[in-house]
């Protein structure tokens, strides 16, 4: 086993060597512009792009014509939300989204709010899921779009997408989902799941960075978008710019592998994730899983370690790459807004660690990480005045803390 160990697969993933192999010829001998209609270099590139479109569409149950290439999920989110807001401005100006969305969605909605859109931010229950009744009540005749992420990037919590889509359809509202963490990890079918727009990122599923896609439904209903990038009219006029052929080939290959291997891979990762959780819980008291275990990506574990601060824990296991919801790891000194929205107390948000398992993690690595976490938490608790007080029976909530 080699260190450092990478267990931060929600942040990004390494390129699968098979993906790299598929991409390589398109950097050199097959370098054509997919928009060049009059020579073989262009045809070759166009053909590669078409193949990738089919591979992507096939993973999500879509038609190849419904795939729009972008630079990544952030751009896809922007295009979907701003594009709908502009295109459907005459129909309404109300957008519904959720407090635990990625910033690419939240900040896009904030941007639109400054320009006359009304936005409703749904809260989440302690398990991280939205309340469908609350969603139904939030819909008004002015509502044009509901945007709810498929799987949360911090907690891995899966939203009831299919039901949300059904509600949206019944009320004649478009439904966008940020599928960054979900596509390639859990089954996604835009028809069965009633999704009208779906953001996809390549680098979260063993593809390259800098390429993503937006699924835009063409039938029942036909969704139209106002482009946010104008130019040569690529991608049915929705997103201009010369296609990133190597990236697109990589995204396609990554989707193809996920489609073939997802079922098996998710079982393996769920087993490893559960092993990590069991090992930790067997050795430590005062640990809490953040978010639903039932409605969750198979490869995610988000845990708080009571009385221990997250960044100091990461420092103690520095040969393991994970991430934390602690303020000390953010530039703002605010702990994770996702955990806060779920009602996780600040002190436990500061104590949280996100483990993201992936394709190249082994059982040996998981066992090693569990042991190192247990060891480090024990050491840091010896250093923690809060642990000492808790063991003395002091109720930490009753203490009059000197707050700044």
């Amino acid at each position: 086993m080699k260190t450092p160990i990478y267990m931060d697969y929600h942040a990004t993933t390494p390129l699968d060597p098979r993906v790299l192999e598929a991409m390589l010829p398109y950097f050199t001998e097959k370098f054509g512009n997919a928009a060049s209609r009059n020579h073989s270099f262009g045809w070759e590139a166009e053909q590669a792009v078409d193949t990738a479109r089919r591979q992507i569409a096939s993973l999500i149950g879509a038609d190849a014509k419904e795939i729009i290439f972008t630079s990544g999920a952030t751009e896809s989110d922007n295009l979907a939300i701003k594009g709908v807001a502009e295109m459907y401005a005459e129909r309404g100006n109300h957008i519904i989204t959720v407090a635990t969305e990625h910033k690419a969605v939240l900040d896009t909605c904030k941007h639109l709010a400054k320009r006359g859109c009304e936005t409703t931010l749904l809260g989440v229950r302690p398990d991280g899921l939205i309340d469908l009744d609350e969603l139904k009540k939030a819909i008004t005749p002015k509502t044009i779009l509901i945007s709810v992420m498929w799987a949360n990037n911090e907690t891995g919590v899966l939203q009831p997408v299919r039901e949300i889509g059904r509600i949206a359809k019944e009320r004649g509202v478009l439904f966008h989902s940020d599928g960054t963490q979900a596509v390639g990890k859990v089954p996604v079918n835009v028809i069965e799941d009633n999704v009208d727009l779906l953001s996809i990122s390549a680098h979260k599923m063993y593809g390259p960075k800098g390429i993503g896609a937006l699924y835009v439904r063409r039938k029942n209903p036909r969704v139209q978008l106002t482009s946010q990038m104008d130019g040569g009219g690529h991608e049915r006029g929705m997103r201009s710019g010369t296609l990133n052929v190597t990236g697109i080939v990589g995204l396609g290959a990554a989707c193809e592998i996920c489609r073939a291997e997802m079922a098996e891979e998710s079982v393996r990762l769920r087993g490893l994730r559960d092993l990590l959780k069991e090992r930790i819980e067997a050795e430590l008291d005062g640990v809490h899983v953040n978010g639903s275990m039932e409605h969750r990506l198979p490869n995610n574990l988000n845990m708080s370690f009571g009385w221990v601060e997250g960044e100091s824990l990461m420092m103690g296991i520095k040969e393991v790459a994970v991430s934390s919801g602690s303020a000390c790891t953010s530039a703002t000194l605010e702990p994770s807004f996702v955990l806060k929205a779920m009602g996780v107390p600040d002190e436990l948000a500061h104590s949280s660690i996100r483990f993201g398992l992936g394709r190249f993690n082994t059982r040996e690595e998981v066992e090693y990480v569990a042991a190192r976490v247990v060891e480090t938490v024990k050491k840091l608790r010896e250093l923690s005045p809060l642990y000492e007080m808790a063991k003395e029976g002091v109720d930490l909530k009753s203490v009059n803390w000197a707050r700044e």
């Binding site: 221990v308 960044e311 420092m315 000390c328 000194l333 600040d346 500061h350 250093l383 000492e388």
Partner: protein
């Protein structure tokens, strides 16, 4: 974020970890910060009543690596100093010694506050005794 060598050293080998008997009249206890802010430091000193010199210092800290290092360093620095000398320790000294980045300056402020709170507690006890 990369940590300085000194922060890493204090984190890996924290000096003077532990607790002193807070009921001991020669012991002053300072507890600063709050759990929901992600930092709590407890710093204790044991003062020689005759000489006014801090003979022992202990700490426990809930916080990031820089907070642990700042409080560990604070115990090292106050040990052997008189109360008046210890009160002269400034957070900027800690920032410089540990090469703390701007975002971690609050850790040094907290350590300075912990020293002051411990000394204040000791003085209060001592005056109460008289």
């Amino acid at each position: 974020m990369a940590y300085s060598e000194k922060v890493l050293d204090h984190y890996s080998n924290p000096r003077n970890v532990g607790s002193l008997d807070k009921k001991d009249p020669a012991v002053g206890t300072g507890m600063v910060g709050a759990p929901e802010c992600g930092d709590v430091m407890k710093l204790q000193i044991k003062v020689n009543d005759e000489t006014g010199v801090i003979e022992e210092a202990k700490f426990k800290t809930f916080g990031c690596g820089s907070a642990i290092a700042a409080s560990s360093l604070a115990t090292e620095w106050v040990k052997g100093k008189s109360i008046d000398e210890a009160l002269k320790i400034r957070n900027v000294d800690i920032v410089n010694e540990l090469s703390l980045p701007p975002i971690k300056i609050h850790c040094s402020v907290l350590a300075e506050d912990a020293i002051k709170a411990a000394i204040e507690d000791y003085k209060k006890k001592r005056n109460g005794k008289r």
